[in-house]
Symmetry: C2
Subunit: 324 residues, 2 copies
């Protein structure tokens, strides 16, 4: 796998970059209605996402799948952004052509490259309000920290090492933020999570506005705001599939003690699955893990019963100017 | 709409009919995994559904949709069983041909017509464990009453007047029982509801066995079992669509005070929907209703935000022999 065309933001450098172009994407998966209707609402009320110091665009990632209320037509769009896979033969795959089109319109070689992309998703797992980060650079970490101050229940997931840094739609932007909310059945809306998603986006835009404003000062200083010094991050370490028989058919379900218990510690021996015949299958690892995306509908076909994370503490340098 | 080829069972007569052929169906909708894996398990362990006094068959209703983990290929199979719609042109629709095939194999003119069909479904609404009845004949009502004694949380929904009596897969059988469990996101399994579904089916088969056994006695008498004399039934009276704009796009979501609150009374003025802009839309009817199938994913395209029911009490004649 080749690296993204964007180099990962470097250390403190990223904190001094002014954000000029923001792109908000819904409908990267066409059956995740929260993001789709969020985009429609913003397009009807552009004042909601207008901020003086930068431009904000909106787009439906996968319009054909959105029309059909299905995750994708030929291939998951959120795995199509690795440019090395765009051979002539792949252009018969709708999502491959769509990814190429989006990259040409918004990517690093476009007229107005995207500084920050916000990609909206929903999940059948109990994600609550999750921020998906690809890079743990200072700008992104401080953005996440600021959001967690506003909404303490927000969880932070680091997807670096998962491969999504290179092939997901987020590869469109230099800085990236995935917003994942759940549990929501695909093809449905939940009013509570819809409103929380919209609020979170407002808070992201407000943060970026403040970041730009402080940067523009001659002598930027750190405002006295309650940014946490230590962030809790769930770091991707792998995935685990459902138990299957020799034909590849699943033989077990998520154990009732795991269902909807995303982010919670699972210790050696704890229940993981329950077979169709009622037998419990325990966790055989030696160190605690914190599963997320437990029982995500779209991951059955990917062979993922849950994603495994390590719960980490990351210390922020709070002396820098962009903390809120 | 023509009537089903089966006349509705008549009053007390139905209680004296011996049940010889039972058919259990899963995968009438190909993304409702609970029923599909229930059928697979029964096919692997036929002893689970064997009873001495009758034959039990199993079938996947929509095998193509099951393979694709989608509700249907061309048309909802559960709306294809009205024989008057089977013109030559409709035979290009996969589900129409499938319905015809199933009717020829199991219907009233088949070699072994089905006396009782049990059709397994799951829903994103908070159905809990729901029995769907088409006919409120004595046999069916006493079966429902017996199940409610075993599992008091089981709810009884009368779908008569909804049209499903004639066009749903249940039209295959003289007696019909739909089992609807939720909330489950389509394309997923929940271990708890999977096990409860299997237990419920066992109880249905046990009831039928006892029914047949008592019928075969020379002088059947009513066993002294705690059958309730009054059943609570949620009777279908209609459906309500999402509020929409002039383009047919929805402009509101299920109100948070309605979400997951199936079966509960809604009184005039109570919140029903929340618009994307945050305004509450209240119930404008004059009499209380009890909505079910609230926020079912597959009903967005059908223009159904929820089904409306009237909560009724039905008095059973407990002197007859088939009570458990």
């Amino acid at each position: 796998m080749i690296m993204s065309e964007f180099p990962p933001p470097q250390n403190e450098l990223s904190n001094t970059v002014s954000i000029k172009q923001v792109l908000i994407v819904g409908g990267t998966h066409g059956n995740e209605l929260t993001g789709i209707h969020t985009i429609k609402r913003f397009e009807q009320h552009p004042a909601l996402i207008h901020r003086p110091s930068f431009d904000t665009s909106t787009v439906i990632g996968n319009p054909h799948a959105t029309k059909d209320v299905t995750r994708y037509i030929n291939k998951d769009l959120n795995r199509c952004f690795d440019a090395s896979s765009w051979g002539p033969s792949s252009m018969s795959i709708y999502e491959m052509t769509r990814a190429k089109t989006l990259m040409e319109q918004y990517g690093p070689h476009s007229k107005q490259p995207i500084d920050l992309v916000i990609d909206l998703h929903s999940t059948t797992s109990n994600a609550g309000l999750m921020l998906i980060l690809d890079h743990l650079d200072p700008f992104t970490l401080r953005l996440a920290a600021a959001l967690q101050v506003k909404a303490p229940k927000v969880k932070i997931y680091s997807a670096s090492r998962s491969g999504r840094e290179h092939d997901s739609l987020r590869a469109l932007g230099r800085y990236r933020l995935g917003i994942e909310v759940g549990p929501i059945a695909h093809g449905t809306l939940h009013a509570d999570l819809f409103q929380k998603t919209q609020t979170l986006i407002q808070q992201v835009l407000d943060y970026v506005e403040q970041h730009n404003t402080i940067l523009s000062l001659t002598n930027p200083t750190s405002p006295q705001s309650p940014t946490p010094k230590v962030l809790t991050v769930y770091q991707y370490i792998g995935t685990i599939d459902y138990p299957k028989n020799q034909h590849g058919d699943i033989i077990a379900m998520i154990h009732p003690q795991r269902q909807f218990r995303d982010y919670e510690a699972v210790n050696p021996g704890d229940p993981m699955f329950l077979t169709f015949d009622g037998e419990t299958i325990g966790y055989t690892g030696k160190t605690p893990i914190h599963p997320i995306f437990i029982n995500e509908a779209a991951y059955y076909e990917k062979g993922i019963a849950m994603s495994l994370t390590e719960k980490k503490q990351i210390t922020l340098d709070c002396s820098s100017h962009s903390s809120l």
